[in-house]
């Protein structure tokens, strides 16, 4: 079972679960996965990639997302820069099989499938891989409680996850800070196969809005390349999203976002 925190969901307005007194590492991961499942929403997102010289590359998109039977669906339409305006990206999470990822470039005329083998690759030239945008998976890797710590003053569990084998995204382990109050993963450190820190992902501007937790900003820093990507929710609205958005027909409709 795969739960995905997509680029949108990562910044979503989130429901909080009840905290348990004493939990195992795996239970915490499960709680965390539940915590970041969002409601249906429409978000305007800005993604800024900054290289070590300080040059910036900005992309803006509008993303609709919904969760059906615990599986996430997401459609993003690029608004900026001009040359990618109208390009659409569809991702449908599948249970027990590879997710469907499709891209539609207006000038190409028809949607193309993005191979699932690309999951470990960078997402749209950013410091996130497609996989980094997902939550910790209870059944993937060996989880253990590394300790307790705080992140931006909030008490957190620190979960260590060790990976082995081919499907490790190139990481040997990750350390994830999960807030004790709302189970949101607020910080993740990624280590390469030589146990050197490669990247650090942090969540910022987390607040409660109408009883749901809002996470506005996600930062990924590649400490080895001195490179960073910031994903920001510029506007967010919780509203029902029709199933028709997550279809090939909608992908092909260049005039609709």
């Amino acid at each position: 079972m795969k739960r995905i925190i997509s680029i949108t969901v990562a910044m979503l307005l989130l429901g909080v679960s009840t905290a348990f007194a004493e939990l195992s590492a795996k239970q915490i991961v499960i709680q965390s996965k539940v915590a970041i499942q969002g409601s249906s929403s429409v978000n305007k997102i800005k993604m800024t990639v900054t290289n070590k010289r300080g040059d910036e590359q900005v992309q803006k998109m509008i993303t609709r997302t919904k969760t059906v039977n615990g599986l996430n669906q997401q459609i993003s339409t690029f608004l900026y820069p001009d040359e990618t305006k109208g390009t659409k990206f569809l991702k449908i999470e599948k249970d027990n099989q590879n997710d469907i990822m499709k891209i539609y470039i207006p000038d190409l005329g028809k949607p193309r499938t993005i191979s699932s083998s690309q999951r470990k690759q960078s997402f749209m030239g950013s410091d996130f891989t497609y996989e980094d945008l997902e939550a910790l998976q209870p059944q993937k890797g060996q989880h253990s409680i590394f300790g307790n710590n705080t992140f931006e003053d909030a008490p957190c569990y620190v979960i260590q996850t060790n990976y082995s084998g081919k499907k490790s995204a190139g990481y040997s382990k990750t350390l994830t800070w999960i807030r004790k109050d709302n189970y949101l993963p607020v910080k993740t450190e990624y280590y390469d196969k030589d146990a050197n820190l490669i990247k650090v992902k942090t969540a910022h501007e987390i607040y409660k809005k109408k009883d749901v937790w809002v996470l506005k900003k996600l930062v990924m820093k590649n400490v080895q390349k001195n490179h960073q990507t910031v994903i920001e929710v510029v506007e967010s609205e919780i509203q029902p999203v029709d199933d028709s958005y997550f279809t090939e027909q909608f992908l092909r409709q260049t005039d609709k976002y």
Partner: protein, 794 residues
């Protein structure tokens, strides 16, 4: 008293006072010299070597600025190149060899100084694949192929991709390459050693490893420089000691000149270290030149000391010391200054290694002068005047008679001597006209060194180890999303690939063409530049593999076309980039708003060699002119100035003729020969002319004049030249073929200078009978043993 104050002019009186001080406070003077040497010697520990060519060119030099820009904008770094070669049938396509390539790619990451994110091999690069309905940008082969079928699959993917085939894997399949970019500030020689050590630890079957790359080459040369210095210095000292023993046959004659040159070398090198100036491959010659030249002052002073001791028995050590120094300060000061001027002419170069070689050789020569004028008189004053031993005076007498006889022969054949001079000039002109400028960093290694072997092999099997970069820049953001411009880039690359020695040419266009093909069901017909700006923009956004940032910047207004060239010869590289520039002008001429620049490491190296060589030619003329001026002023005669430069001009011309005839290219090491030759060779002419002038003014004429000059100045010049030539011959044992070349060429140059000074000069002097040599007012100058003379009357 043998020094009569009333005979001296103001300058002489000042020097007399100076030498009285030096000899009076002899212990303090000696201790001060020791202190100075220890002070500078302490600095030697800070001495560093530098072989990175980009640090040698002057700051702000266009090709360096361009390379810096490329490095900064595209996070581009020069790479260490490791080739794995398996000559068995099937080449690298077997589990064992592939396993080794994988292990090397993985372990390169552990090597300090290697940029982990910039390792390129078939196990790190991304491939763009397309099939019906979909595409992916995925690693070419992240894990080891496990069976024959997977290996065949991998081979097919490699051979279909022009960015891998011929670049990462040899077209013949016998070898594969791992490129690892290294940080510019890392210790590149250590990286080379670490890579070698890592390779030694691998389990080899049929495979051979080859390691090279620009950083490795310069790093290892840097290491060799240090090793070479450590080896040469004592060798030069030993050779000088041997020569001094041969000439003087006593302790004092050996020790004093030796101490002077050692102190001078320490002062020059220590000063260089304190000033934070590194030693370059070229400046290894500095201590050797200082030793070879600095010893001359000592030789002349000691020779005169023994003669004076013989002529003035019964005087005190201090008196004798002052007497000798009063005769010798003038030639010592003058030859030191002319030599220093010769080396200072290297300051006209904009290349740091050349400039510093000039400056610190000059410093060393002047330091030798300083110690000769302080430490030597102080030491001599501490001695009891020697009682001339029978044996020694017999040796001197014999030497005098040989040189006198040689003078007679020269006198007899003087028309022929001039004829030979003319022949030499003709030879030089015809040979010199075919001298070509060429340098090869590989020339710094012996042929059997693994680095040139690796470089040759990699240049033969793969696309090459030398990089050229063509950059296109526009003021307009997103200019390079324009398919028309990108098509021109593709066309440019195609034409560049036709240039001899060019192995590969990569740019963002290659990625875009592959993306386009993948997007159209892998249809080869779509291996073209995408048709619209929006497609280009989308592909660039989607392309998430290997650092495309090395080829295009974020604003899409600056692109980098990387060309690999399979040669290290600068003359060939120069031809390649001239051709590249021409193709660029033809191809991009229509785009007014795009600035095209061809550069890269290959260009920097070519520029460096050209600057050195052409700068050197300028400084040859400058130093000859400088020396002409100094000698003209010194002798107060243009004829004398002209005559002084005859031997050095002949020697310089002879050098070029020799290089032309024997096909030795003009490169930094050979170009510096002439400047050393001029700096040193001028002394011979000055000594000879001064002595000739003195003898002639004393009324000696014709054959006797030549014989006398030969027996005195000729003899000293011979000793001097013998020591210098022997000193430079030490370079023949250098690790650097270029240094060995230099040793041979300087020796040849010295020999011509010496031979011309003792043959052509007397022949010309006799023929011209110049006014500056004639007795003043028709009165013959008195014959007086202890008259202060220009040449000290050796």
């Amino acid at each position: 008293m043998i020094d009569r104050d009333f005979k001296y002019g103001p300058l002489e009186r000042a020097f007399l006072l100076f030498f009285k001080l030096m000899t009076g406070h002899r212990i303090r003077v000696t201790l001060t010299c020791v202190f100075i040497t220890v002070f500078f010697g302490y600095g030697l520990r800070y001495l560093e070597s530098e072989a990175d060519v980009t640090n040698m060119l002057p700051q702000g030099y266009p090709s360096v600025v361009h390379l810096d820009r490329i490095e900064e904008e595209f996070e581009y770094n020069e790479s260490v190149v490791v080739a794995v070669v398996n000559e068995e049938p099937g080449g690298i396509y077997n589990p064992h060899t592939l396993g080794l390539i994988k292990q090397i790619s993985d372990r390169m990451e552990d090597i300090r100084g290697v940029r982990n994110d910039q390792i390129r091999s078939i196990f790190t690069v991304t491939d763009i694949v397309g099939d019906e309905g979909g595409f992916a940008v995925v690693p070419l082969s992240e894990t080891m192929p496990e069976n024959a079928e997977e290996i065949a699959q991998l081979r097919l993917r490699i051979e279909q991709n022009t960015m891998f085939h011929g670049t990462l894997v040899a077209k013949s399949s016998v070898g594969a390459i791992v490129y690892a970019a290294v940080s510019p500030v890392a210790d590149h020689a250590q990286i080379y050693l670490d890579v070698r050590e890592m390779l030694d630890g691998l389990d080899v079957d049929q495979e051979q490893f080859y390691v090279t790359g620009n950083p490795v080459v310069s790093g290892v040369i840097g290491r060799h420089v240090e090793a070479d210095m450590a080896k040469m210095m004592p060798l030069v000292a030993i050779v000088i000691v041997l020569m001094l023993i041969l000439i003087f046959r006593n302790v004092l004659g050996v020790l004093l000149p030796l101490v002077v040159v050692i102190c001078s070398v320490v002062v020059a090198m220590g000063m260089q270290a304190y000033l934070g100036i590194p030693i370059y491959p070229m400046s290894t010659t500095v201590p050797i030149v200082i030793m070879a030249i600095g010893v001359a002052d000592g030789i002349h002073i000691i020779t005169r000391y023994y003669e004076a001791a013989r002529d003035h028995p019964g005087v005190t050590g201090r008196q004798l010391s002052i007497h000798v120094m009063m005769e010798m300060w003038r030639p010592v000061v003058m030859t030191s200054f002319t030599t220093a001027i010769g080396f200072m002419s290297l300051l006209s170069s904009t290349m740091k290694p050349v400039m510093y070689t000039g400056i610190f050789t000059a410093v060393g020569v002047l330091a030798a002068m300083f110690f000769s004028l302080t430490l030597i008189p102080a030491s001599l004053a501490m001695m009891h005047p020697p009682k001339t031993r029978q044996e020694q005076s017999r040796w001197w007498a014999r030497a005098d008679s040989w040189f006198s006889k040689a003078g007679a022969v020269i006198y007899r054949f003087r028309p022929m001597v001039i004829f030979f001079g003319v022949l030499l000039v003709a030879f030089s002109v015809s040979g010199g006209s075919v001298v070509r400028v060429d340098s090869d960093p590989m020339g710094n290694f012996n042929e059997d060194d693994p680095i040139p072997i690796s470089t040759k092999l990699i240049n033969r099997l793969f696309s090459g180890t030398m990089n050229m970069n063509t950059t296109l820049e526009s003021e307009t953001e997103k200019r390079f999303l324009d398919p028309a411009v990108l098509r021109a880039v593709g066309k440019y690359q195609e034409q560049v690939l036709q240039i001899p020695h060019v192995g590969s040419s990569d740019s963002v266009v290659d990625f875009l063409m592959m993306m386009n093909q993948a997007m159209y069901e892998n249809d080869p017909e779509y291996r073209t530049v995408p048709g619209t700006k929006n497609l280009v923009g989308n592909y660039l956004m989607l392309y998430s593999g290997e650092n495309i940032n090395q080829y295009i910047n974020y604003d899409r207004d600056f692109i980098n076309i990387q060309t690999r060239v399979a040669t290290t010869s600068t003359s060939k590289l120069e031809k390649v980039f001239l051709k590249m520039e021409q193709i660029a002008t033809d191809t991009f001429g229509e785009f007014d708003d795009i600035e095209v620049q061809t550069g890269g490491m290959g260009r920097v190296i070519v520029d460096m060699i050209n600057i050195i060589v052409y700068g050197q030619i300028t400084s040859i003329f400058l130093s000859i002119f400088g020396v002409f001026c100094v000698t003209t002023i010194m002798f107060r005669s243009f004829t004398a100035g002209f005559l002084s430069i005859v031997p050095i001009t002949l020697a310089t011309a002879g050098n070029f003729g020799f290089m032309g005839f024997f096909g030795i290219p003009l490169e930094p090491a050979t170009a510096v020969t002439s400047c050393i030759g001029i700096g040193v060779g001028i002394d011979y002419a000055i000594h000879f002319i001064a002595k000739y002038q003195l003898m002639r003014r004393r009324g000696i004429v014709d054959k006797e004049l030549v014989c006398c000059t030969m027996a005195t100045a000729g003899k000293a010049i011979f000793f001097n030249a013998a020591v210098v030539i022997a000193g430079f011959m030490v370079l023949l044992s250098s690790q650097f073929p270029a240094s060995r070349h230099l040793g041979l060429m300087v020796s040849l140059n010295m020999f011509i200078s010496f031979a011309a000074a003792v043959t052509i000069l007397p022949a010309l002097l006799l023929r011209l009978n110049p006014a500056f040599c004639k007795p003043k007012n028709g009165i013959k100058a008195p014959l007086e043993k202890d008259e202060p003379t220009l040449n000290g009357g050796i």
